[in-house]
Symmetry: none
Subunit: 194 residues, 4 copies
DNA sequence: GATGAATGAGGCTTCATTCAT
DNA sequence: TATGAATGAAGCCTCATTCAT
């Protein structure tokens, strides 16, 4: 790859990161091209050099965030540990994401009604992939007798739903540290599947 | 109360119901005064006779929905049953809301970033009240030895979070009926607190 | 028709007239909604109360102008005179339009590439109707032995083309008055069909 | 002339040709610098090395096209044939231009409203020159008794106007071939001057 | 009470133009 | 010479809001 292409990609990434921040604060409709550009000390006209239009930009935001999260999670699957331990680590990771990368993270979990179907599909695909990783661990845990539940998918929904909710109320000044939360959530949520 | 006042209130309620529908479909920014009015065969100009502005209207939407939900839930607290049974019923009710009244329900759980702080506070108050009902049952359950957990608030967050998440994926054509879901969720979520 | 509807139509017509003026001066792309509105001391936002968008407005311009011209021309067909005399009068009328109503007239003759096909069709229909009136007179003249040519359609094209061209160069300060032009053109153009 | 200058001129010409194509397809305002450059596999920034700005580029388009057409026409004047025959050939040539080089040709006949007066003048000069060639033949024909009309300029306008109009409706799939049209037009238009 | 009409701010997008490299 | 990148003005359109009737 040529240097210029690299620079292009880097700039695109910068813009995406700025957009992610603002979209998470204000939603798709609330985020304006103006604001996204201003954050980078650019003018909104410049954004159109990198992205076809707003929908395209936001779409690529989703893609980037989802892919990253997916990779991160996949790491735990390859470790040589029990499924319970795998699940515990995935819970810890997911919560960390939900808290520390709150902005990017919202993109994983909030289904936007704003995409034309042709753009929505690839996003749903990655989203399903992400959820599938949880399913896999739970199902293997059941197979090995570590877990006992009959509805692994619903259990997964409970896990993800409850964790996604954290960012609705979490504040660093609140009573619990992130580490405490991770521990408590892991403990309580593992009760669900056991 | 005079008859004219009654009529005024009734009209206001109609408008709020229409607004709730549309806000939940399109979000705060996507809902237009035009659309809200059209649903009632009015013109948007008229809305300003009943509400100061859009923010005011949406604010009153939140208030109404939250109050209703609160009342409904409170009913379970006065029944003469175990706390586990109370909690089970509250779960069932909450899920029913989340599925059947998805539109209105969204207002309970999605904190809109759109309110000025002076308007946000009363909403948060009612929201806390709602959550407090769950807390109360859980805490009493712990006191009576029905539940064993050490972090009732976090357990409550897990319960609400996981249930709120349902509407992100639930579809009547999906594999499970609402009744099945209510049962499974109740079973799995009670494991958390026990 | 209610009074309010009448007013609406009148306003629409005013806007159309303003738009016609500007479109003829600057073309479809050059005419701005801002300028069209300013001419009427309105703001561009108001235009959207009356027309869906720019294309819709310009489309209705074409429709109105074409219909008017059509009616005017049709008048000559019902008179009890020879076809040569009919054709002469149609020529005089067409030239008068081309000169005195230059602005509206352009809309009859300039095919805009700007319309989506669904909107283009009705316009072409009226345009063909207009041309058809010339065809009819020429063909009847041939039948009666007044004219001798074998290609009535091409003759019509020559007539219309040459007359439409007048506005490209005509200026009231120029050497010839409109009346003189009408006479000369009628004389020369009738030579074509005879 | 130095080699580098020659190259410069050649590049300029290429750009002009590309611009002509696009301007004729989309009009002055519809043609974008981007599109003109893309056709030559350049970037729009480069255009500004060769032309001061868009107006300058389009202006030079007009100049080039008009000069070419002028030269072509002038050829017929030097042949040793009757004025009627000269005029017939000029008609044939003009129609061929109008049909086969429709794109470039438009520039001769459509006076763009887009030029500042200082740029418009030289264009009008060449345009008049072109028209003057027709005038000359007609006037000489009158002098020699071949033609009989009293208004040679208006006759010329009729000729040019009717021929320019052809491209508004001509389509290769239509009923008549170009050759047929040339013949019929020559026949009918010569009736005007005789 | 209700509405038709108007307004103006603000959003998305395009594009001629500039300029450092 | 050429280009990649940025800019900013201007255009289309939406919509909350206002107000005379």
């Amino acid at each position: 790859m040529k240097l210029s292409e690299k620079k292009l990609l880097k700039k695109k990434e910068e813009i995406i990161l700025s957009a992610v921040k603002i979209v998470n604060r204000k939603g798709y409709r609330g985020a304006t091209m103006d604001e996204i550009a201003a954050e980078l000390l650019m003018t909104k006209g410049s954004l159109y050099y990198y992205f076809k239009n707003k929908e395209d930009l936001i779409f690529q935001c989703h893609q980037m965030v989802l892919s990253q999260a997916n990779e991160e999670l996949q790491g735990h699957l390859n470790e040589m540990i029990s499924n319970e331990e795998k699940l515990r680590r995935m819970i810890v990771t997911h919560i960390q994401y939900a808290i520390e990368e709150k902005e990017t993270f919202n993109m994983i979990i909030k289904p936007d009604q704003t995409f034309s179907t042709e753009q929505l599909n690839p996003i749903l695909l990655i989203r399903n992939e992400y959820a599938g990783l949880f399913d896999k661990v739970i199902r293997e845990g059941i197979a090995k007798g570590e877990f006992t539940i009959g509805e692994p998918k619903i259990a997964r929904m409970i896990l993800l739903g409850s964790m996604n909710w954290i960012q609705q109320w979490y504040s660093p000044e609140g009573g619990k540290s992130m580490e405490e939360l991770q521990e408590i959530y892991a403990e309580y949520l593992l009760k669900v599947v056991k």
